[in-house]
Symmetry: C2
Subunit: 228 residues, 2 copies
DNA sequence: ATCTGTGAATTTCTTCACAGCA
DNA sequence: TGCTGTGAAGAAATTCACAGAT
């Protein structure tokens, strides 16, 4: 889990665990396509994605994909199927709230503009930053958030503010109709039903690593690692 | 998950899913302690942590904690038990490789220094950055990485480089004895057994949100959201 | 009366293992 | 023969529901 758990009905049947892996497959396939690879077997793709090949095949079968027995999967075709499933065929307007180092890093993140996401707003509460251009987008006062979110039909809001501001920003986003939120602030957000929140939490990740590190040191034991 | 799956033996029995939630409990409890709250019930703590209370109780019982029936848990005691379990009682030397906006954001991240983690190195491949002070730490050439990791007994390496450099940096970290890696680069890392990798992947998170967003738009349906 | 601790039921996810198509 | 697709088995995680402590 980056780490979001919650209840999630069967939808049309694609499990969360599978959805969470699709972006990885998509990225690996993109790399293969760029290198001109035409077909790939489940073993190869699974290896490159760091998963078990039976799991990969099961994941793909849930997308009603079809490989060719004895051959493998068509890279381009698989790419477009996964892309469509993930909703990458349309463009999602995104706002980033909080233009500190993290907000800047996110705004400048290449994969952002590249695939399906368009940064339509950068907001901050510090007047010093108003008007500044970051990744070609002008920083606006966070008080413009509601209007902007409505005007641009923002689908996804990214919270990169300090923890204390996070819930408040979240509330404004939700009130403005944003139903998908990516939260980088170390705070638990509460939202109404129908709103999805995913969190990215540096401190948690470090602490989880520290736990395992401690176990490793504890008894000079050789153990099996986790690969991501 | 954030998102790391892999095989993980029972250790002394604490499941991964539980470990991944401990940092959240720890953070919430820290907030309660600061506000002078002495005891907390499983319902309250679960609510504030965004989890089901039975799950919380089960998680805590795995730590051999003990609450008082009819009352709840002692906040301070629970904090120290979770902290100890997570290995926060000792200090973990951390290096960050890649001093772009993301690396800076990580270096300046408050929770870094505050709880159990000490930034002992910032490395980059761009000579322009050498010598620069970030969060009080001088940026050094990435070629110093191996020596530094050895000298400082680095436990955790954070990769905040572009994707193309990630595997190479990872290899150096591993060769230098680092067995816990937090990877922010959009790349699948391969590591030997005994090395833990956790990944934080912005593009994946956005794509997962896009998937759900698409489902929501598809059929104007009211559904249950995910809370983090 | 309240709230913990936990067996048992349930659901979700993973892995195995192999039938069957190319 | 090589590799996919999947039923069935297995493992892990979640949730229920309630006995029992305070």
């Amino acid at each position: 889990m980056a780490l979001t758990a919650g209840d999630r009905r069967g939808r049309d049947g694609i499990p969360d665990a599978t959805i969470a892996r699709l972006p990885v497959y998509h990225r690996v396939l993109t790399g293969l396509a760029e290198r001109g690879v035409a077909t790939v077997s489940s073993d190869e793709l699974a290896e490159a994605s760091g998963v078990n090949s039976a799991k990969l095949r099961k994941d793909l079968s849930l997308l009603r994909t079809h490989g060719t027995r004895g051959v493998g999967y068509d890279v381009e075709h698989l790419l477009s199927q996964i892309g469509r499933e993930l909703g990458l065929s349309q463009e999602w307007p995104v706002v980033v709230v909080g233009v500190g180092n993290l907000g800047r890093a996110l705004a400048n993140y290449g994969g952002f503009a590249s695939r399906g996401f368009r940064l339509v707003g950068l907001l901050d509460s510090d007047p010093v930053r108003f008007g500044e251009l970051v990744a070609g987008v002008m920083v606006r006062p966070v008080t413009d958030l509601a209007a902007l979110a409505h005007a641009e039909q923002v689908a996804i809001g990214v919270i990169a503010t300090p923890a204390v501001a996070a819930q408040q920003v979240c509330d404004v986003l939700v009130a403005a109709g944003v139903r998908s939120i990516l939260n980088f602030a170390p705070a638990v957000l509460s939202v109404p039903d129908g709103v999805d929140v995913r969190k990215v939490d540096l401190a948690s990740e470090l602490q989880i690593l520290a736990y395992h590190e401690q176990r490793k040191s504890a008894a000079g034991i050789v153990r099996t690692g986790v690969s991501a």
